[in-house]
């Protein structure tokens, strides 16, 4: 399961919104309201956005399902237990090690895995973990990408050279390979950097790995935009008024990057969730017994014949979530700039 390289977007600056507003006959409307108006009209993007919200809602409701419906936890084994299905007493896991399939009732709704754990409960809790890791990692990527992108683009020269070359080094490694290498090292021994100590079992480990890997994918287009913005009249005007670099970066340049960030963020989350799934599938994501969609798929592959639900269900959940985020992200991009130019880099 490989993740595609993140799509690199080049988004025109928000000043073009005035021109768009004039064309659409809604002069005087700000860029955000205009974008929201366009987004609301994009029924498909809205539908997929709602789908994503439903997935998130279902995953957030995992404790409710686990406690009140399934009456178990995501890590509880039920190897020797039995359950009544269609009036018949059935082993949750047979003596040959074959787990029960979907019962379509409260307990073991989607069946069990080979340790007798409830697949539905693990799916929902796995979704929580995958979404949490993906979202927080994307946030870290965004924060750091904006920071290094602004610094590189504004100061140029030596700063730009150092930052850009560093990003190139990270960029040179395929995301999954780099993730596996870092994951293998850090899931064994944890992270010890001076006063900072992170346990090998902590979710921060995959979060930091994924957040770090995707910095160049976002920092490079941001840097490009900053290079352009710093030459604008309003920046010159700010300089002429005596504003220092920090003030210019925060008050003039950063606000103009906001639409870029808003466009990129959902796509970053999608990529981060996919990479987390890849790492989990390869056994270097969240350590067991905690579930994630990736390690659920990995565990299920070995039992694809006797228990196809074990791999298929989390796989479908992953596809739906990433697809929803990508379609919604496309809608957001279209809303902010219908004439955005897409550059794919490999």
């Amino acid at each position: 399961m490989a993740t595609e390289p993140a799509t690199e977007y080049s988004v025109e600056r928000p000043a073009v919104f005035e021109e768009e507003a004039r064309r659409e006959g809604v002069e005087g409307m700000g860029p955000w309201r205009l974008a929201l108006r366009r987004l609301r009209r994009n029924k498909i993007a809205i539908a997929f956005g709602v789908l994503f919200v439903l997935v998130v809602g279902a995953c957030l409701a995992a404790p409710l399902w686990a406690d009140d419906v399934a009456h178990t936890s995501p890590i509880k084994n039920h190897l020797s237990d039995t359950i009544v299905v269609d009036g018949k007493k059935t082993n949750v896991v047979s003596l040959d090690g074959v787990p029960i399939g979907p019962t379509w009732q409260g307990e073991f709704f989607l069946g069990a895995d080979t340790n007798g754990r409830d697949t539905m409960v693990r799916l929902l809790y796995g979704g929580r973990n995958s979404l949490l890791i993906g979202t927080v990692a994307a946030l870290i990527t965004t924060l750091l990408a904006v920071l290094v992108g602004i610094l590189a683009g504004y100061f140029r020269g030596f700063t730009d050279t150092v930052v850009s070359r560093s990003l190139d080094v990270i960029w040179a490694f395929p995301a999954v390979l780099l993730g596996v290498a870092l994951g293998t090292a850090l899931t064994l021994s944890g992270l010890n950097l001076g006063p900072i100590e992170i346990s090998s079992r902590s979710k921060l480990i995959p979060i930091l790995i994924i957040g770090f890997i995707y910095i160049p994918y976002m920092a490079r287009p941001i840097r490009g935009q900053v290079l352009s913005l710093r030459e604008k009249e309003f920046v010159e005007a700010a300089r002429a008024q005596g504003a220092g670099p920090l003030r210019i970066m925060l008050s003039e340049i950063l606000p103009n990057l906001s639409s870029t960030v808003v466009v990129f963020f959902p796509l970053m989350v999608a990529n981060a969730i996919l990479l987390e799934a890849a790492l989990g599938f390869l056994g270097v994501g969240i350590p067991p017994p905690e579930p994630s969609w990736g390690n659920l798929i990995g565990d299920g592959v070995d039992h694809i014949l006797s228990g196809p639900h074990l791999a298929i269900v989390p796989g479908v959940a992953l596809v739906i979530t990433v697809l929803a985020l990508n379609v919604f992200g496309d809608g957001v991009r279209d809303a902010f700039d219908p004439r955005a130019t897409i550059h794919l880099e490999h």
């Binding site: 084994n77 190897l79 020797s80 090690g97 340790n115 350590p287 067991p288 070995d302 694809i304």
Partner: protein
Amino acid sequence: MRRYLWAVAALLLATAALGVSACGDDDDGGGGGGGGGETGGSITVATTGLDNSDPVLFQTTQAVQAFQLAYVPLVTYAHEPGEDGSQVVPGLAEEVPEPTNGGKTYTFKLRDGLVYSDGTPVKASDFENTIKRLLVLGSGWSFFYSPVIEGTEEFQKKGDMKADISGIETNDNAGTIKVTLTEPDTKILFALAEPYAAPTPTAKSPGKKLKNPPPGVGPYILDIVDFNSKYVLKRNPEWSKMNIPGIPKGNFDTIVGAVQDNVTKMTQDVISGNADFMTEDPTGDQLPEVRAKYKDRLLEEVNPPNTYYFFLNVTLPPFDKLEARQAVNYAIDSNALVRVFGGRLAPSCNFLPPDIAGYAQNDCKYGDPSGKPDIAKAKQLVKDSGYEGEKVTVWTNNKDPRPAIADYYRDVLNEIGFEAETKTLDQQVYFEQIGRKSTKAQTGFTDWFQDYPHPGDFIESLLSTRALSSEVTFNQGFVSDKHVDSELDDLRGKDPEATTDQWHELDNYVVNDKAYVVPYGGEKSTSFFSERMDAQNCGAVHPVYKNDWLLFCKKG
């Protein structure tokens, strides 16, 4: 028309050429050689690999299967399937000596003309060098020889390869080796028949761990191409010149060990013929599939006697308390573990496995292993121990189904009142890590397969104070119990068949009285071969090596 005919002729010729090349070679996976029961060619064994490159330091069954082909000791095990394979027969020595000096002295005479795979002559003193290496390097097997052999304890204290072991006297000119024990011990010949006791050239076998295996005397030479992916056993050209009777030369020129962790892929490789044998058992979906579709090349039989159990480190909380250890014994459900093993586990409450001398069914104080566990009692015992809420790390390795076993065990420990989590290591480093006191492993997965047909191989290797003399010990619970030690001392010189009651009492003591271990059963192993291999006639289990690759053959 003429051009058309030429074209048709060329096409027909090309088709015929393709057809001939497709039919010509039936060795699709292993390469080289032909079928039909002839010798020669190559086979591939899919395996989780060697756990060490040094022949005195390996520990696993997967490793012994490879090393025994390249390192023949003074005496060795008969290369016969089934019980006959437990017999000790001459190896590099001319005969299996009878003990003298009240059962304390064994004198070996090396065969004439012995040379290592590099052509170096075998010297009697090389044997003493091997025993020294076992002791200086802290091999897990060192307690088989120290303090059993006179002078080994003193040698271990010095830790200097140049020092002498007084109980081993060698004469290179005469080719004799005299081994004197501190007391009669019926196990010593078994211990000397193990591949780690095989002599290697002293000049190439210093007192430090070797990254590459040294030359040995055996039908094959072991070459580790890449420790994590491949090793090759190729015929030793010196072997056939030496004419050592009773040890087969093997039916293949080359045996390739294809190392990987993925048991699913191994099974697929054997099914497709990319591998000819696998050292692991098919798991998950594949076992039922293999049983149904390939039953003619799958052997399922009682293994070398073995015990699967959870070790409990009695030197660390919480298992330094008897109540905590008893709690775990009450809580374990062997039926649950049968499912994890895909039906291949025979539940048991004994530490000694059936089929070993000295075995008798235990009282099963903690409940019938085929019945339900007593969780309520276990919870109460955890409270009584004062360790309720104690953090516990369950150690395991990544070979299927060990992670699943550990997850079940973690769940049970949490249910009875501990706060448990799992820690998984690679199979190749696992046993070395949990056998070190510095690792501080509280509890975890372990197993033991018979090294030799003697109950001392289980209880002495795994639960005696003697076993703690190794730097890396098999006594992963760090058990040191005076009663166990004194009973073992008493039983050491006696025939186990004649002392069944005493061994039974010891088994009861370590499990029922002291709960030093949590046994849950023995594994029924599988031997799965590719289509071209003759599984039925040449695949039977060996009681010491599990599978003797010297006996493997292709179909006739």
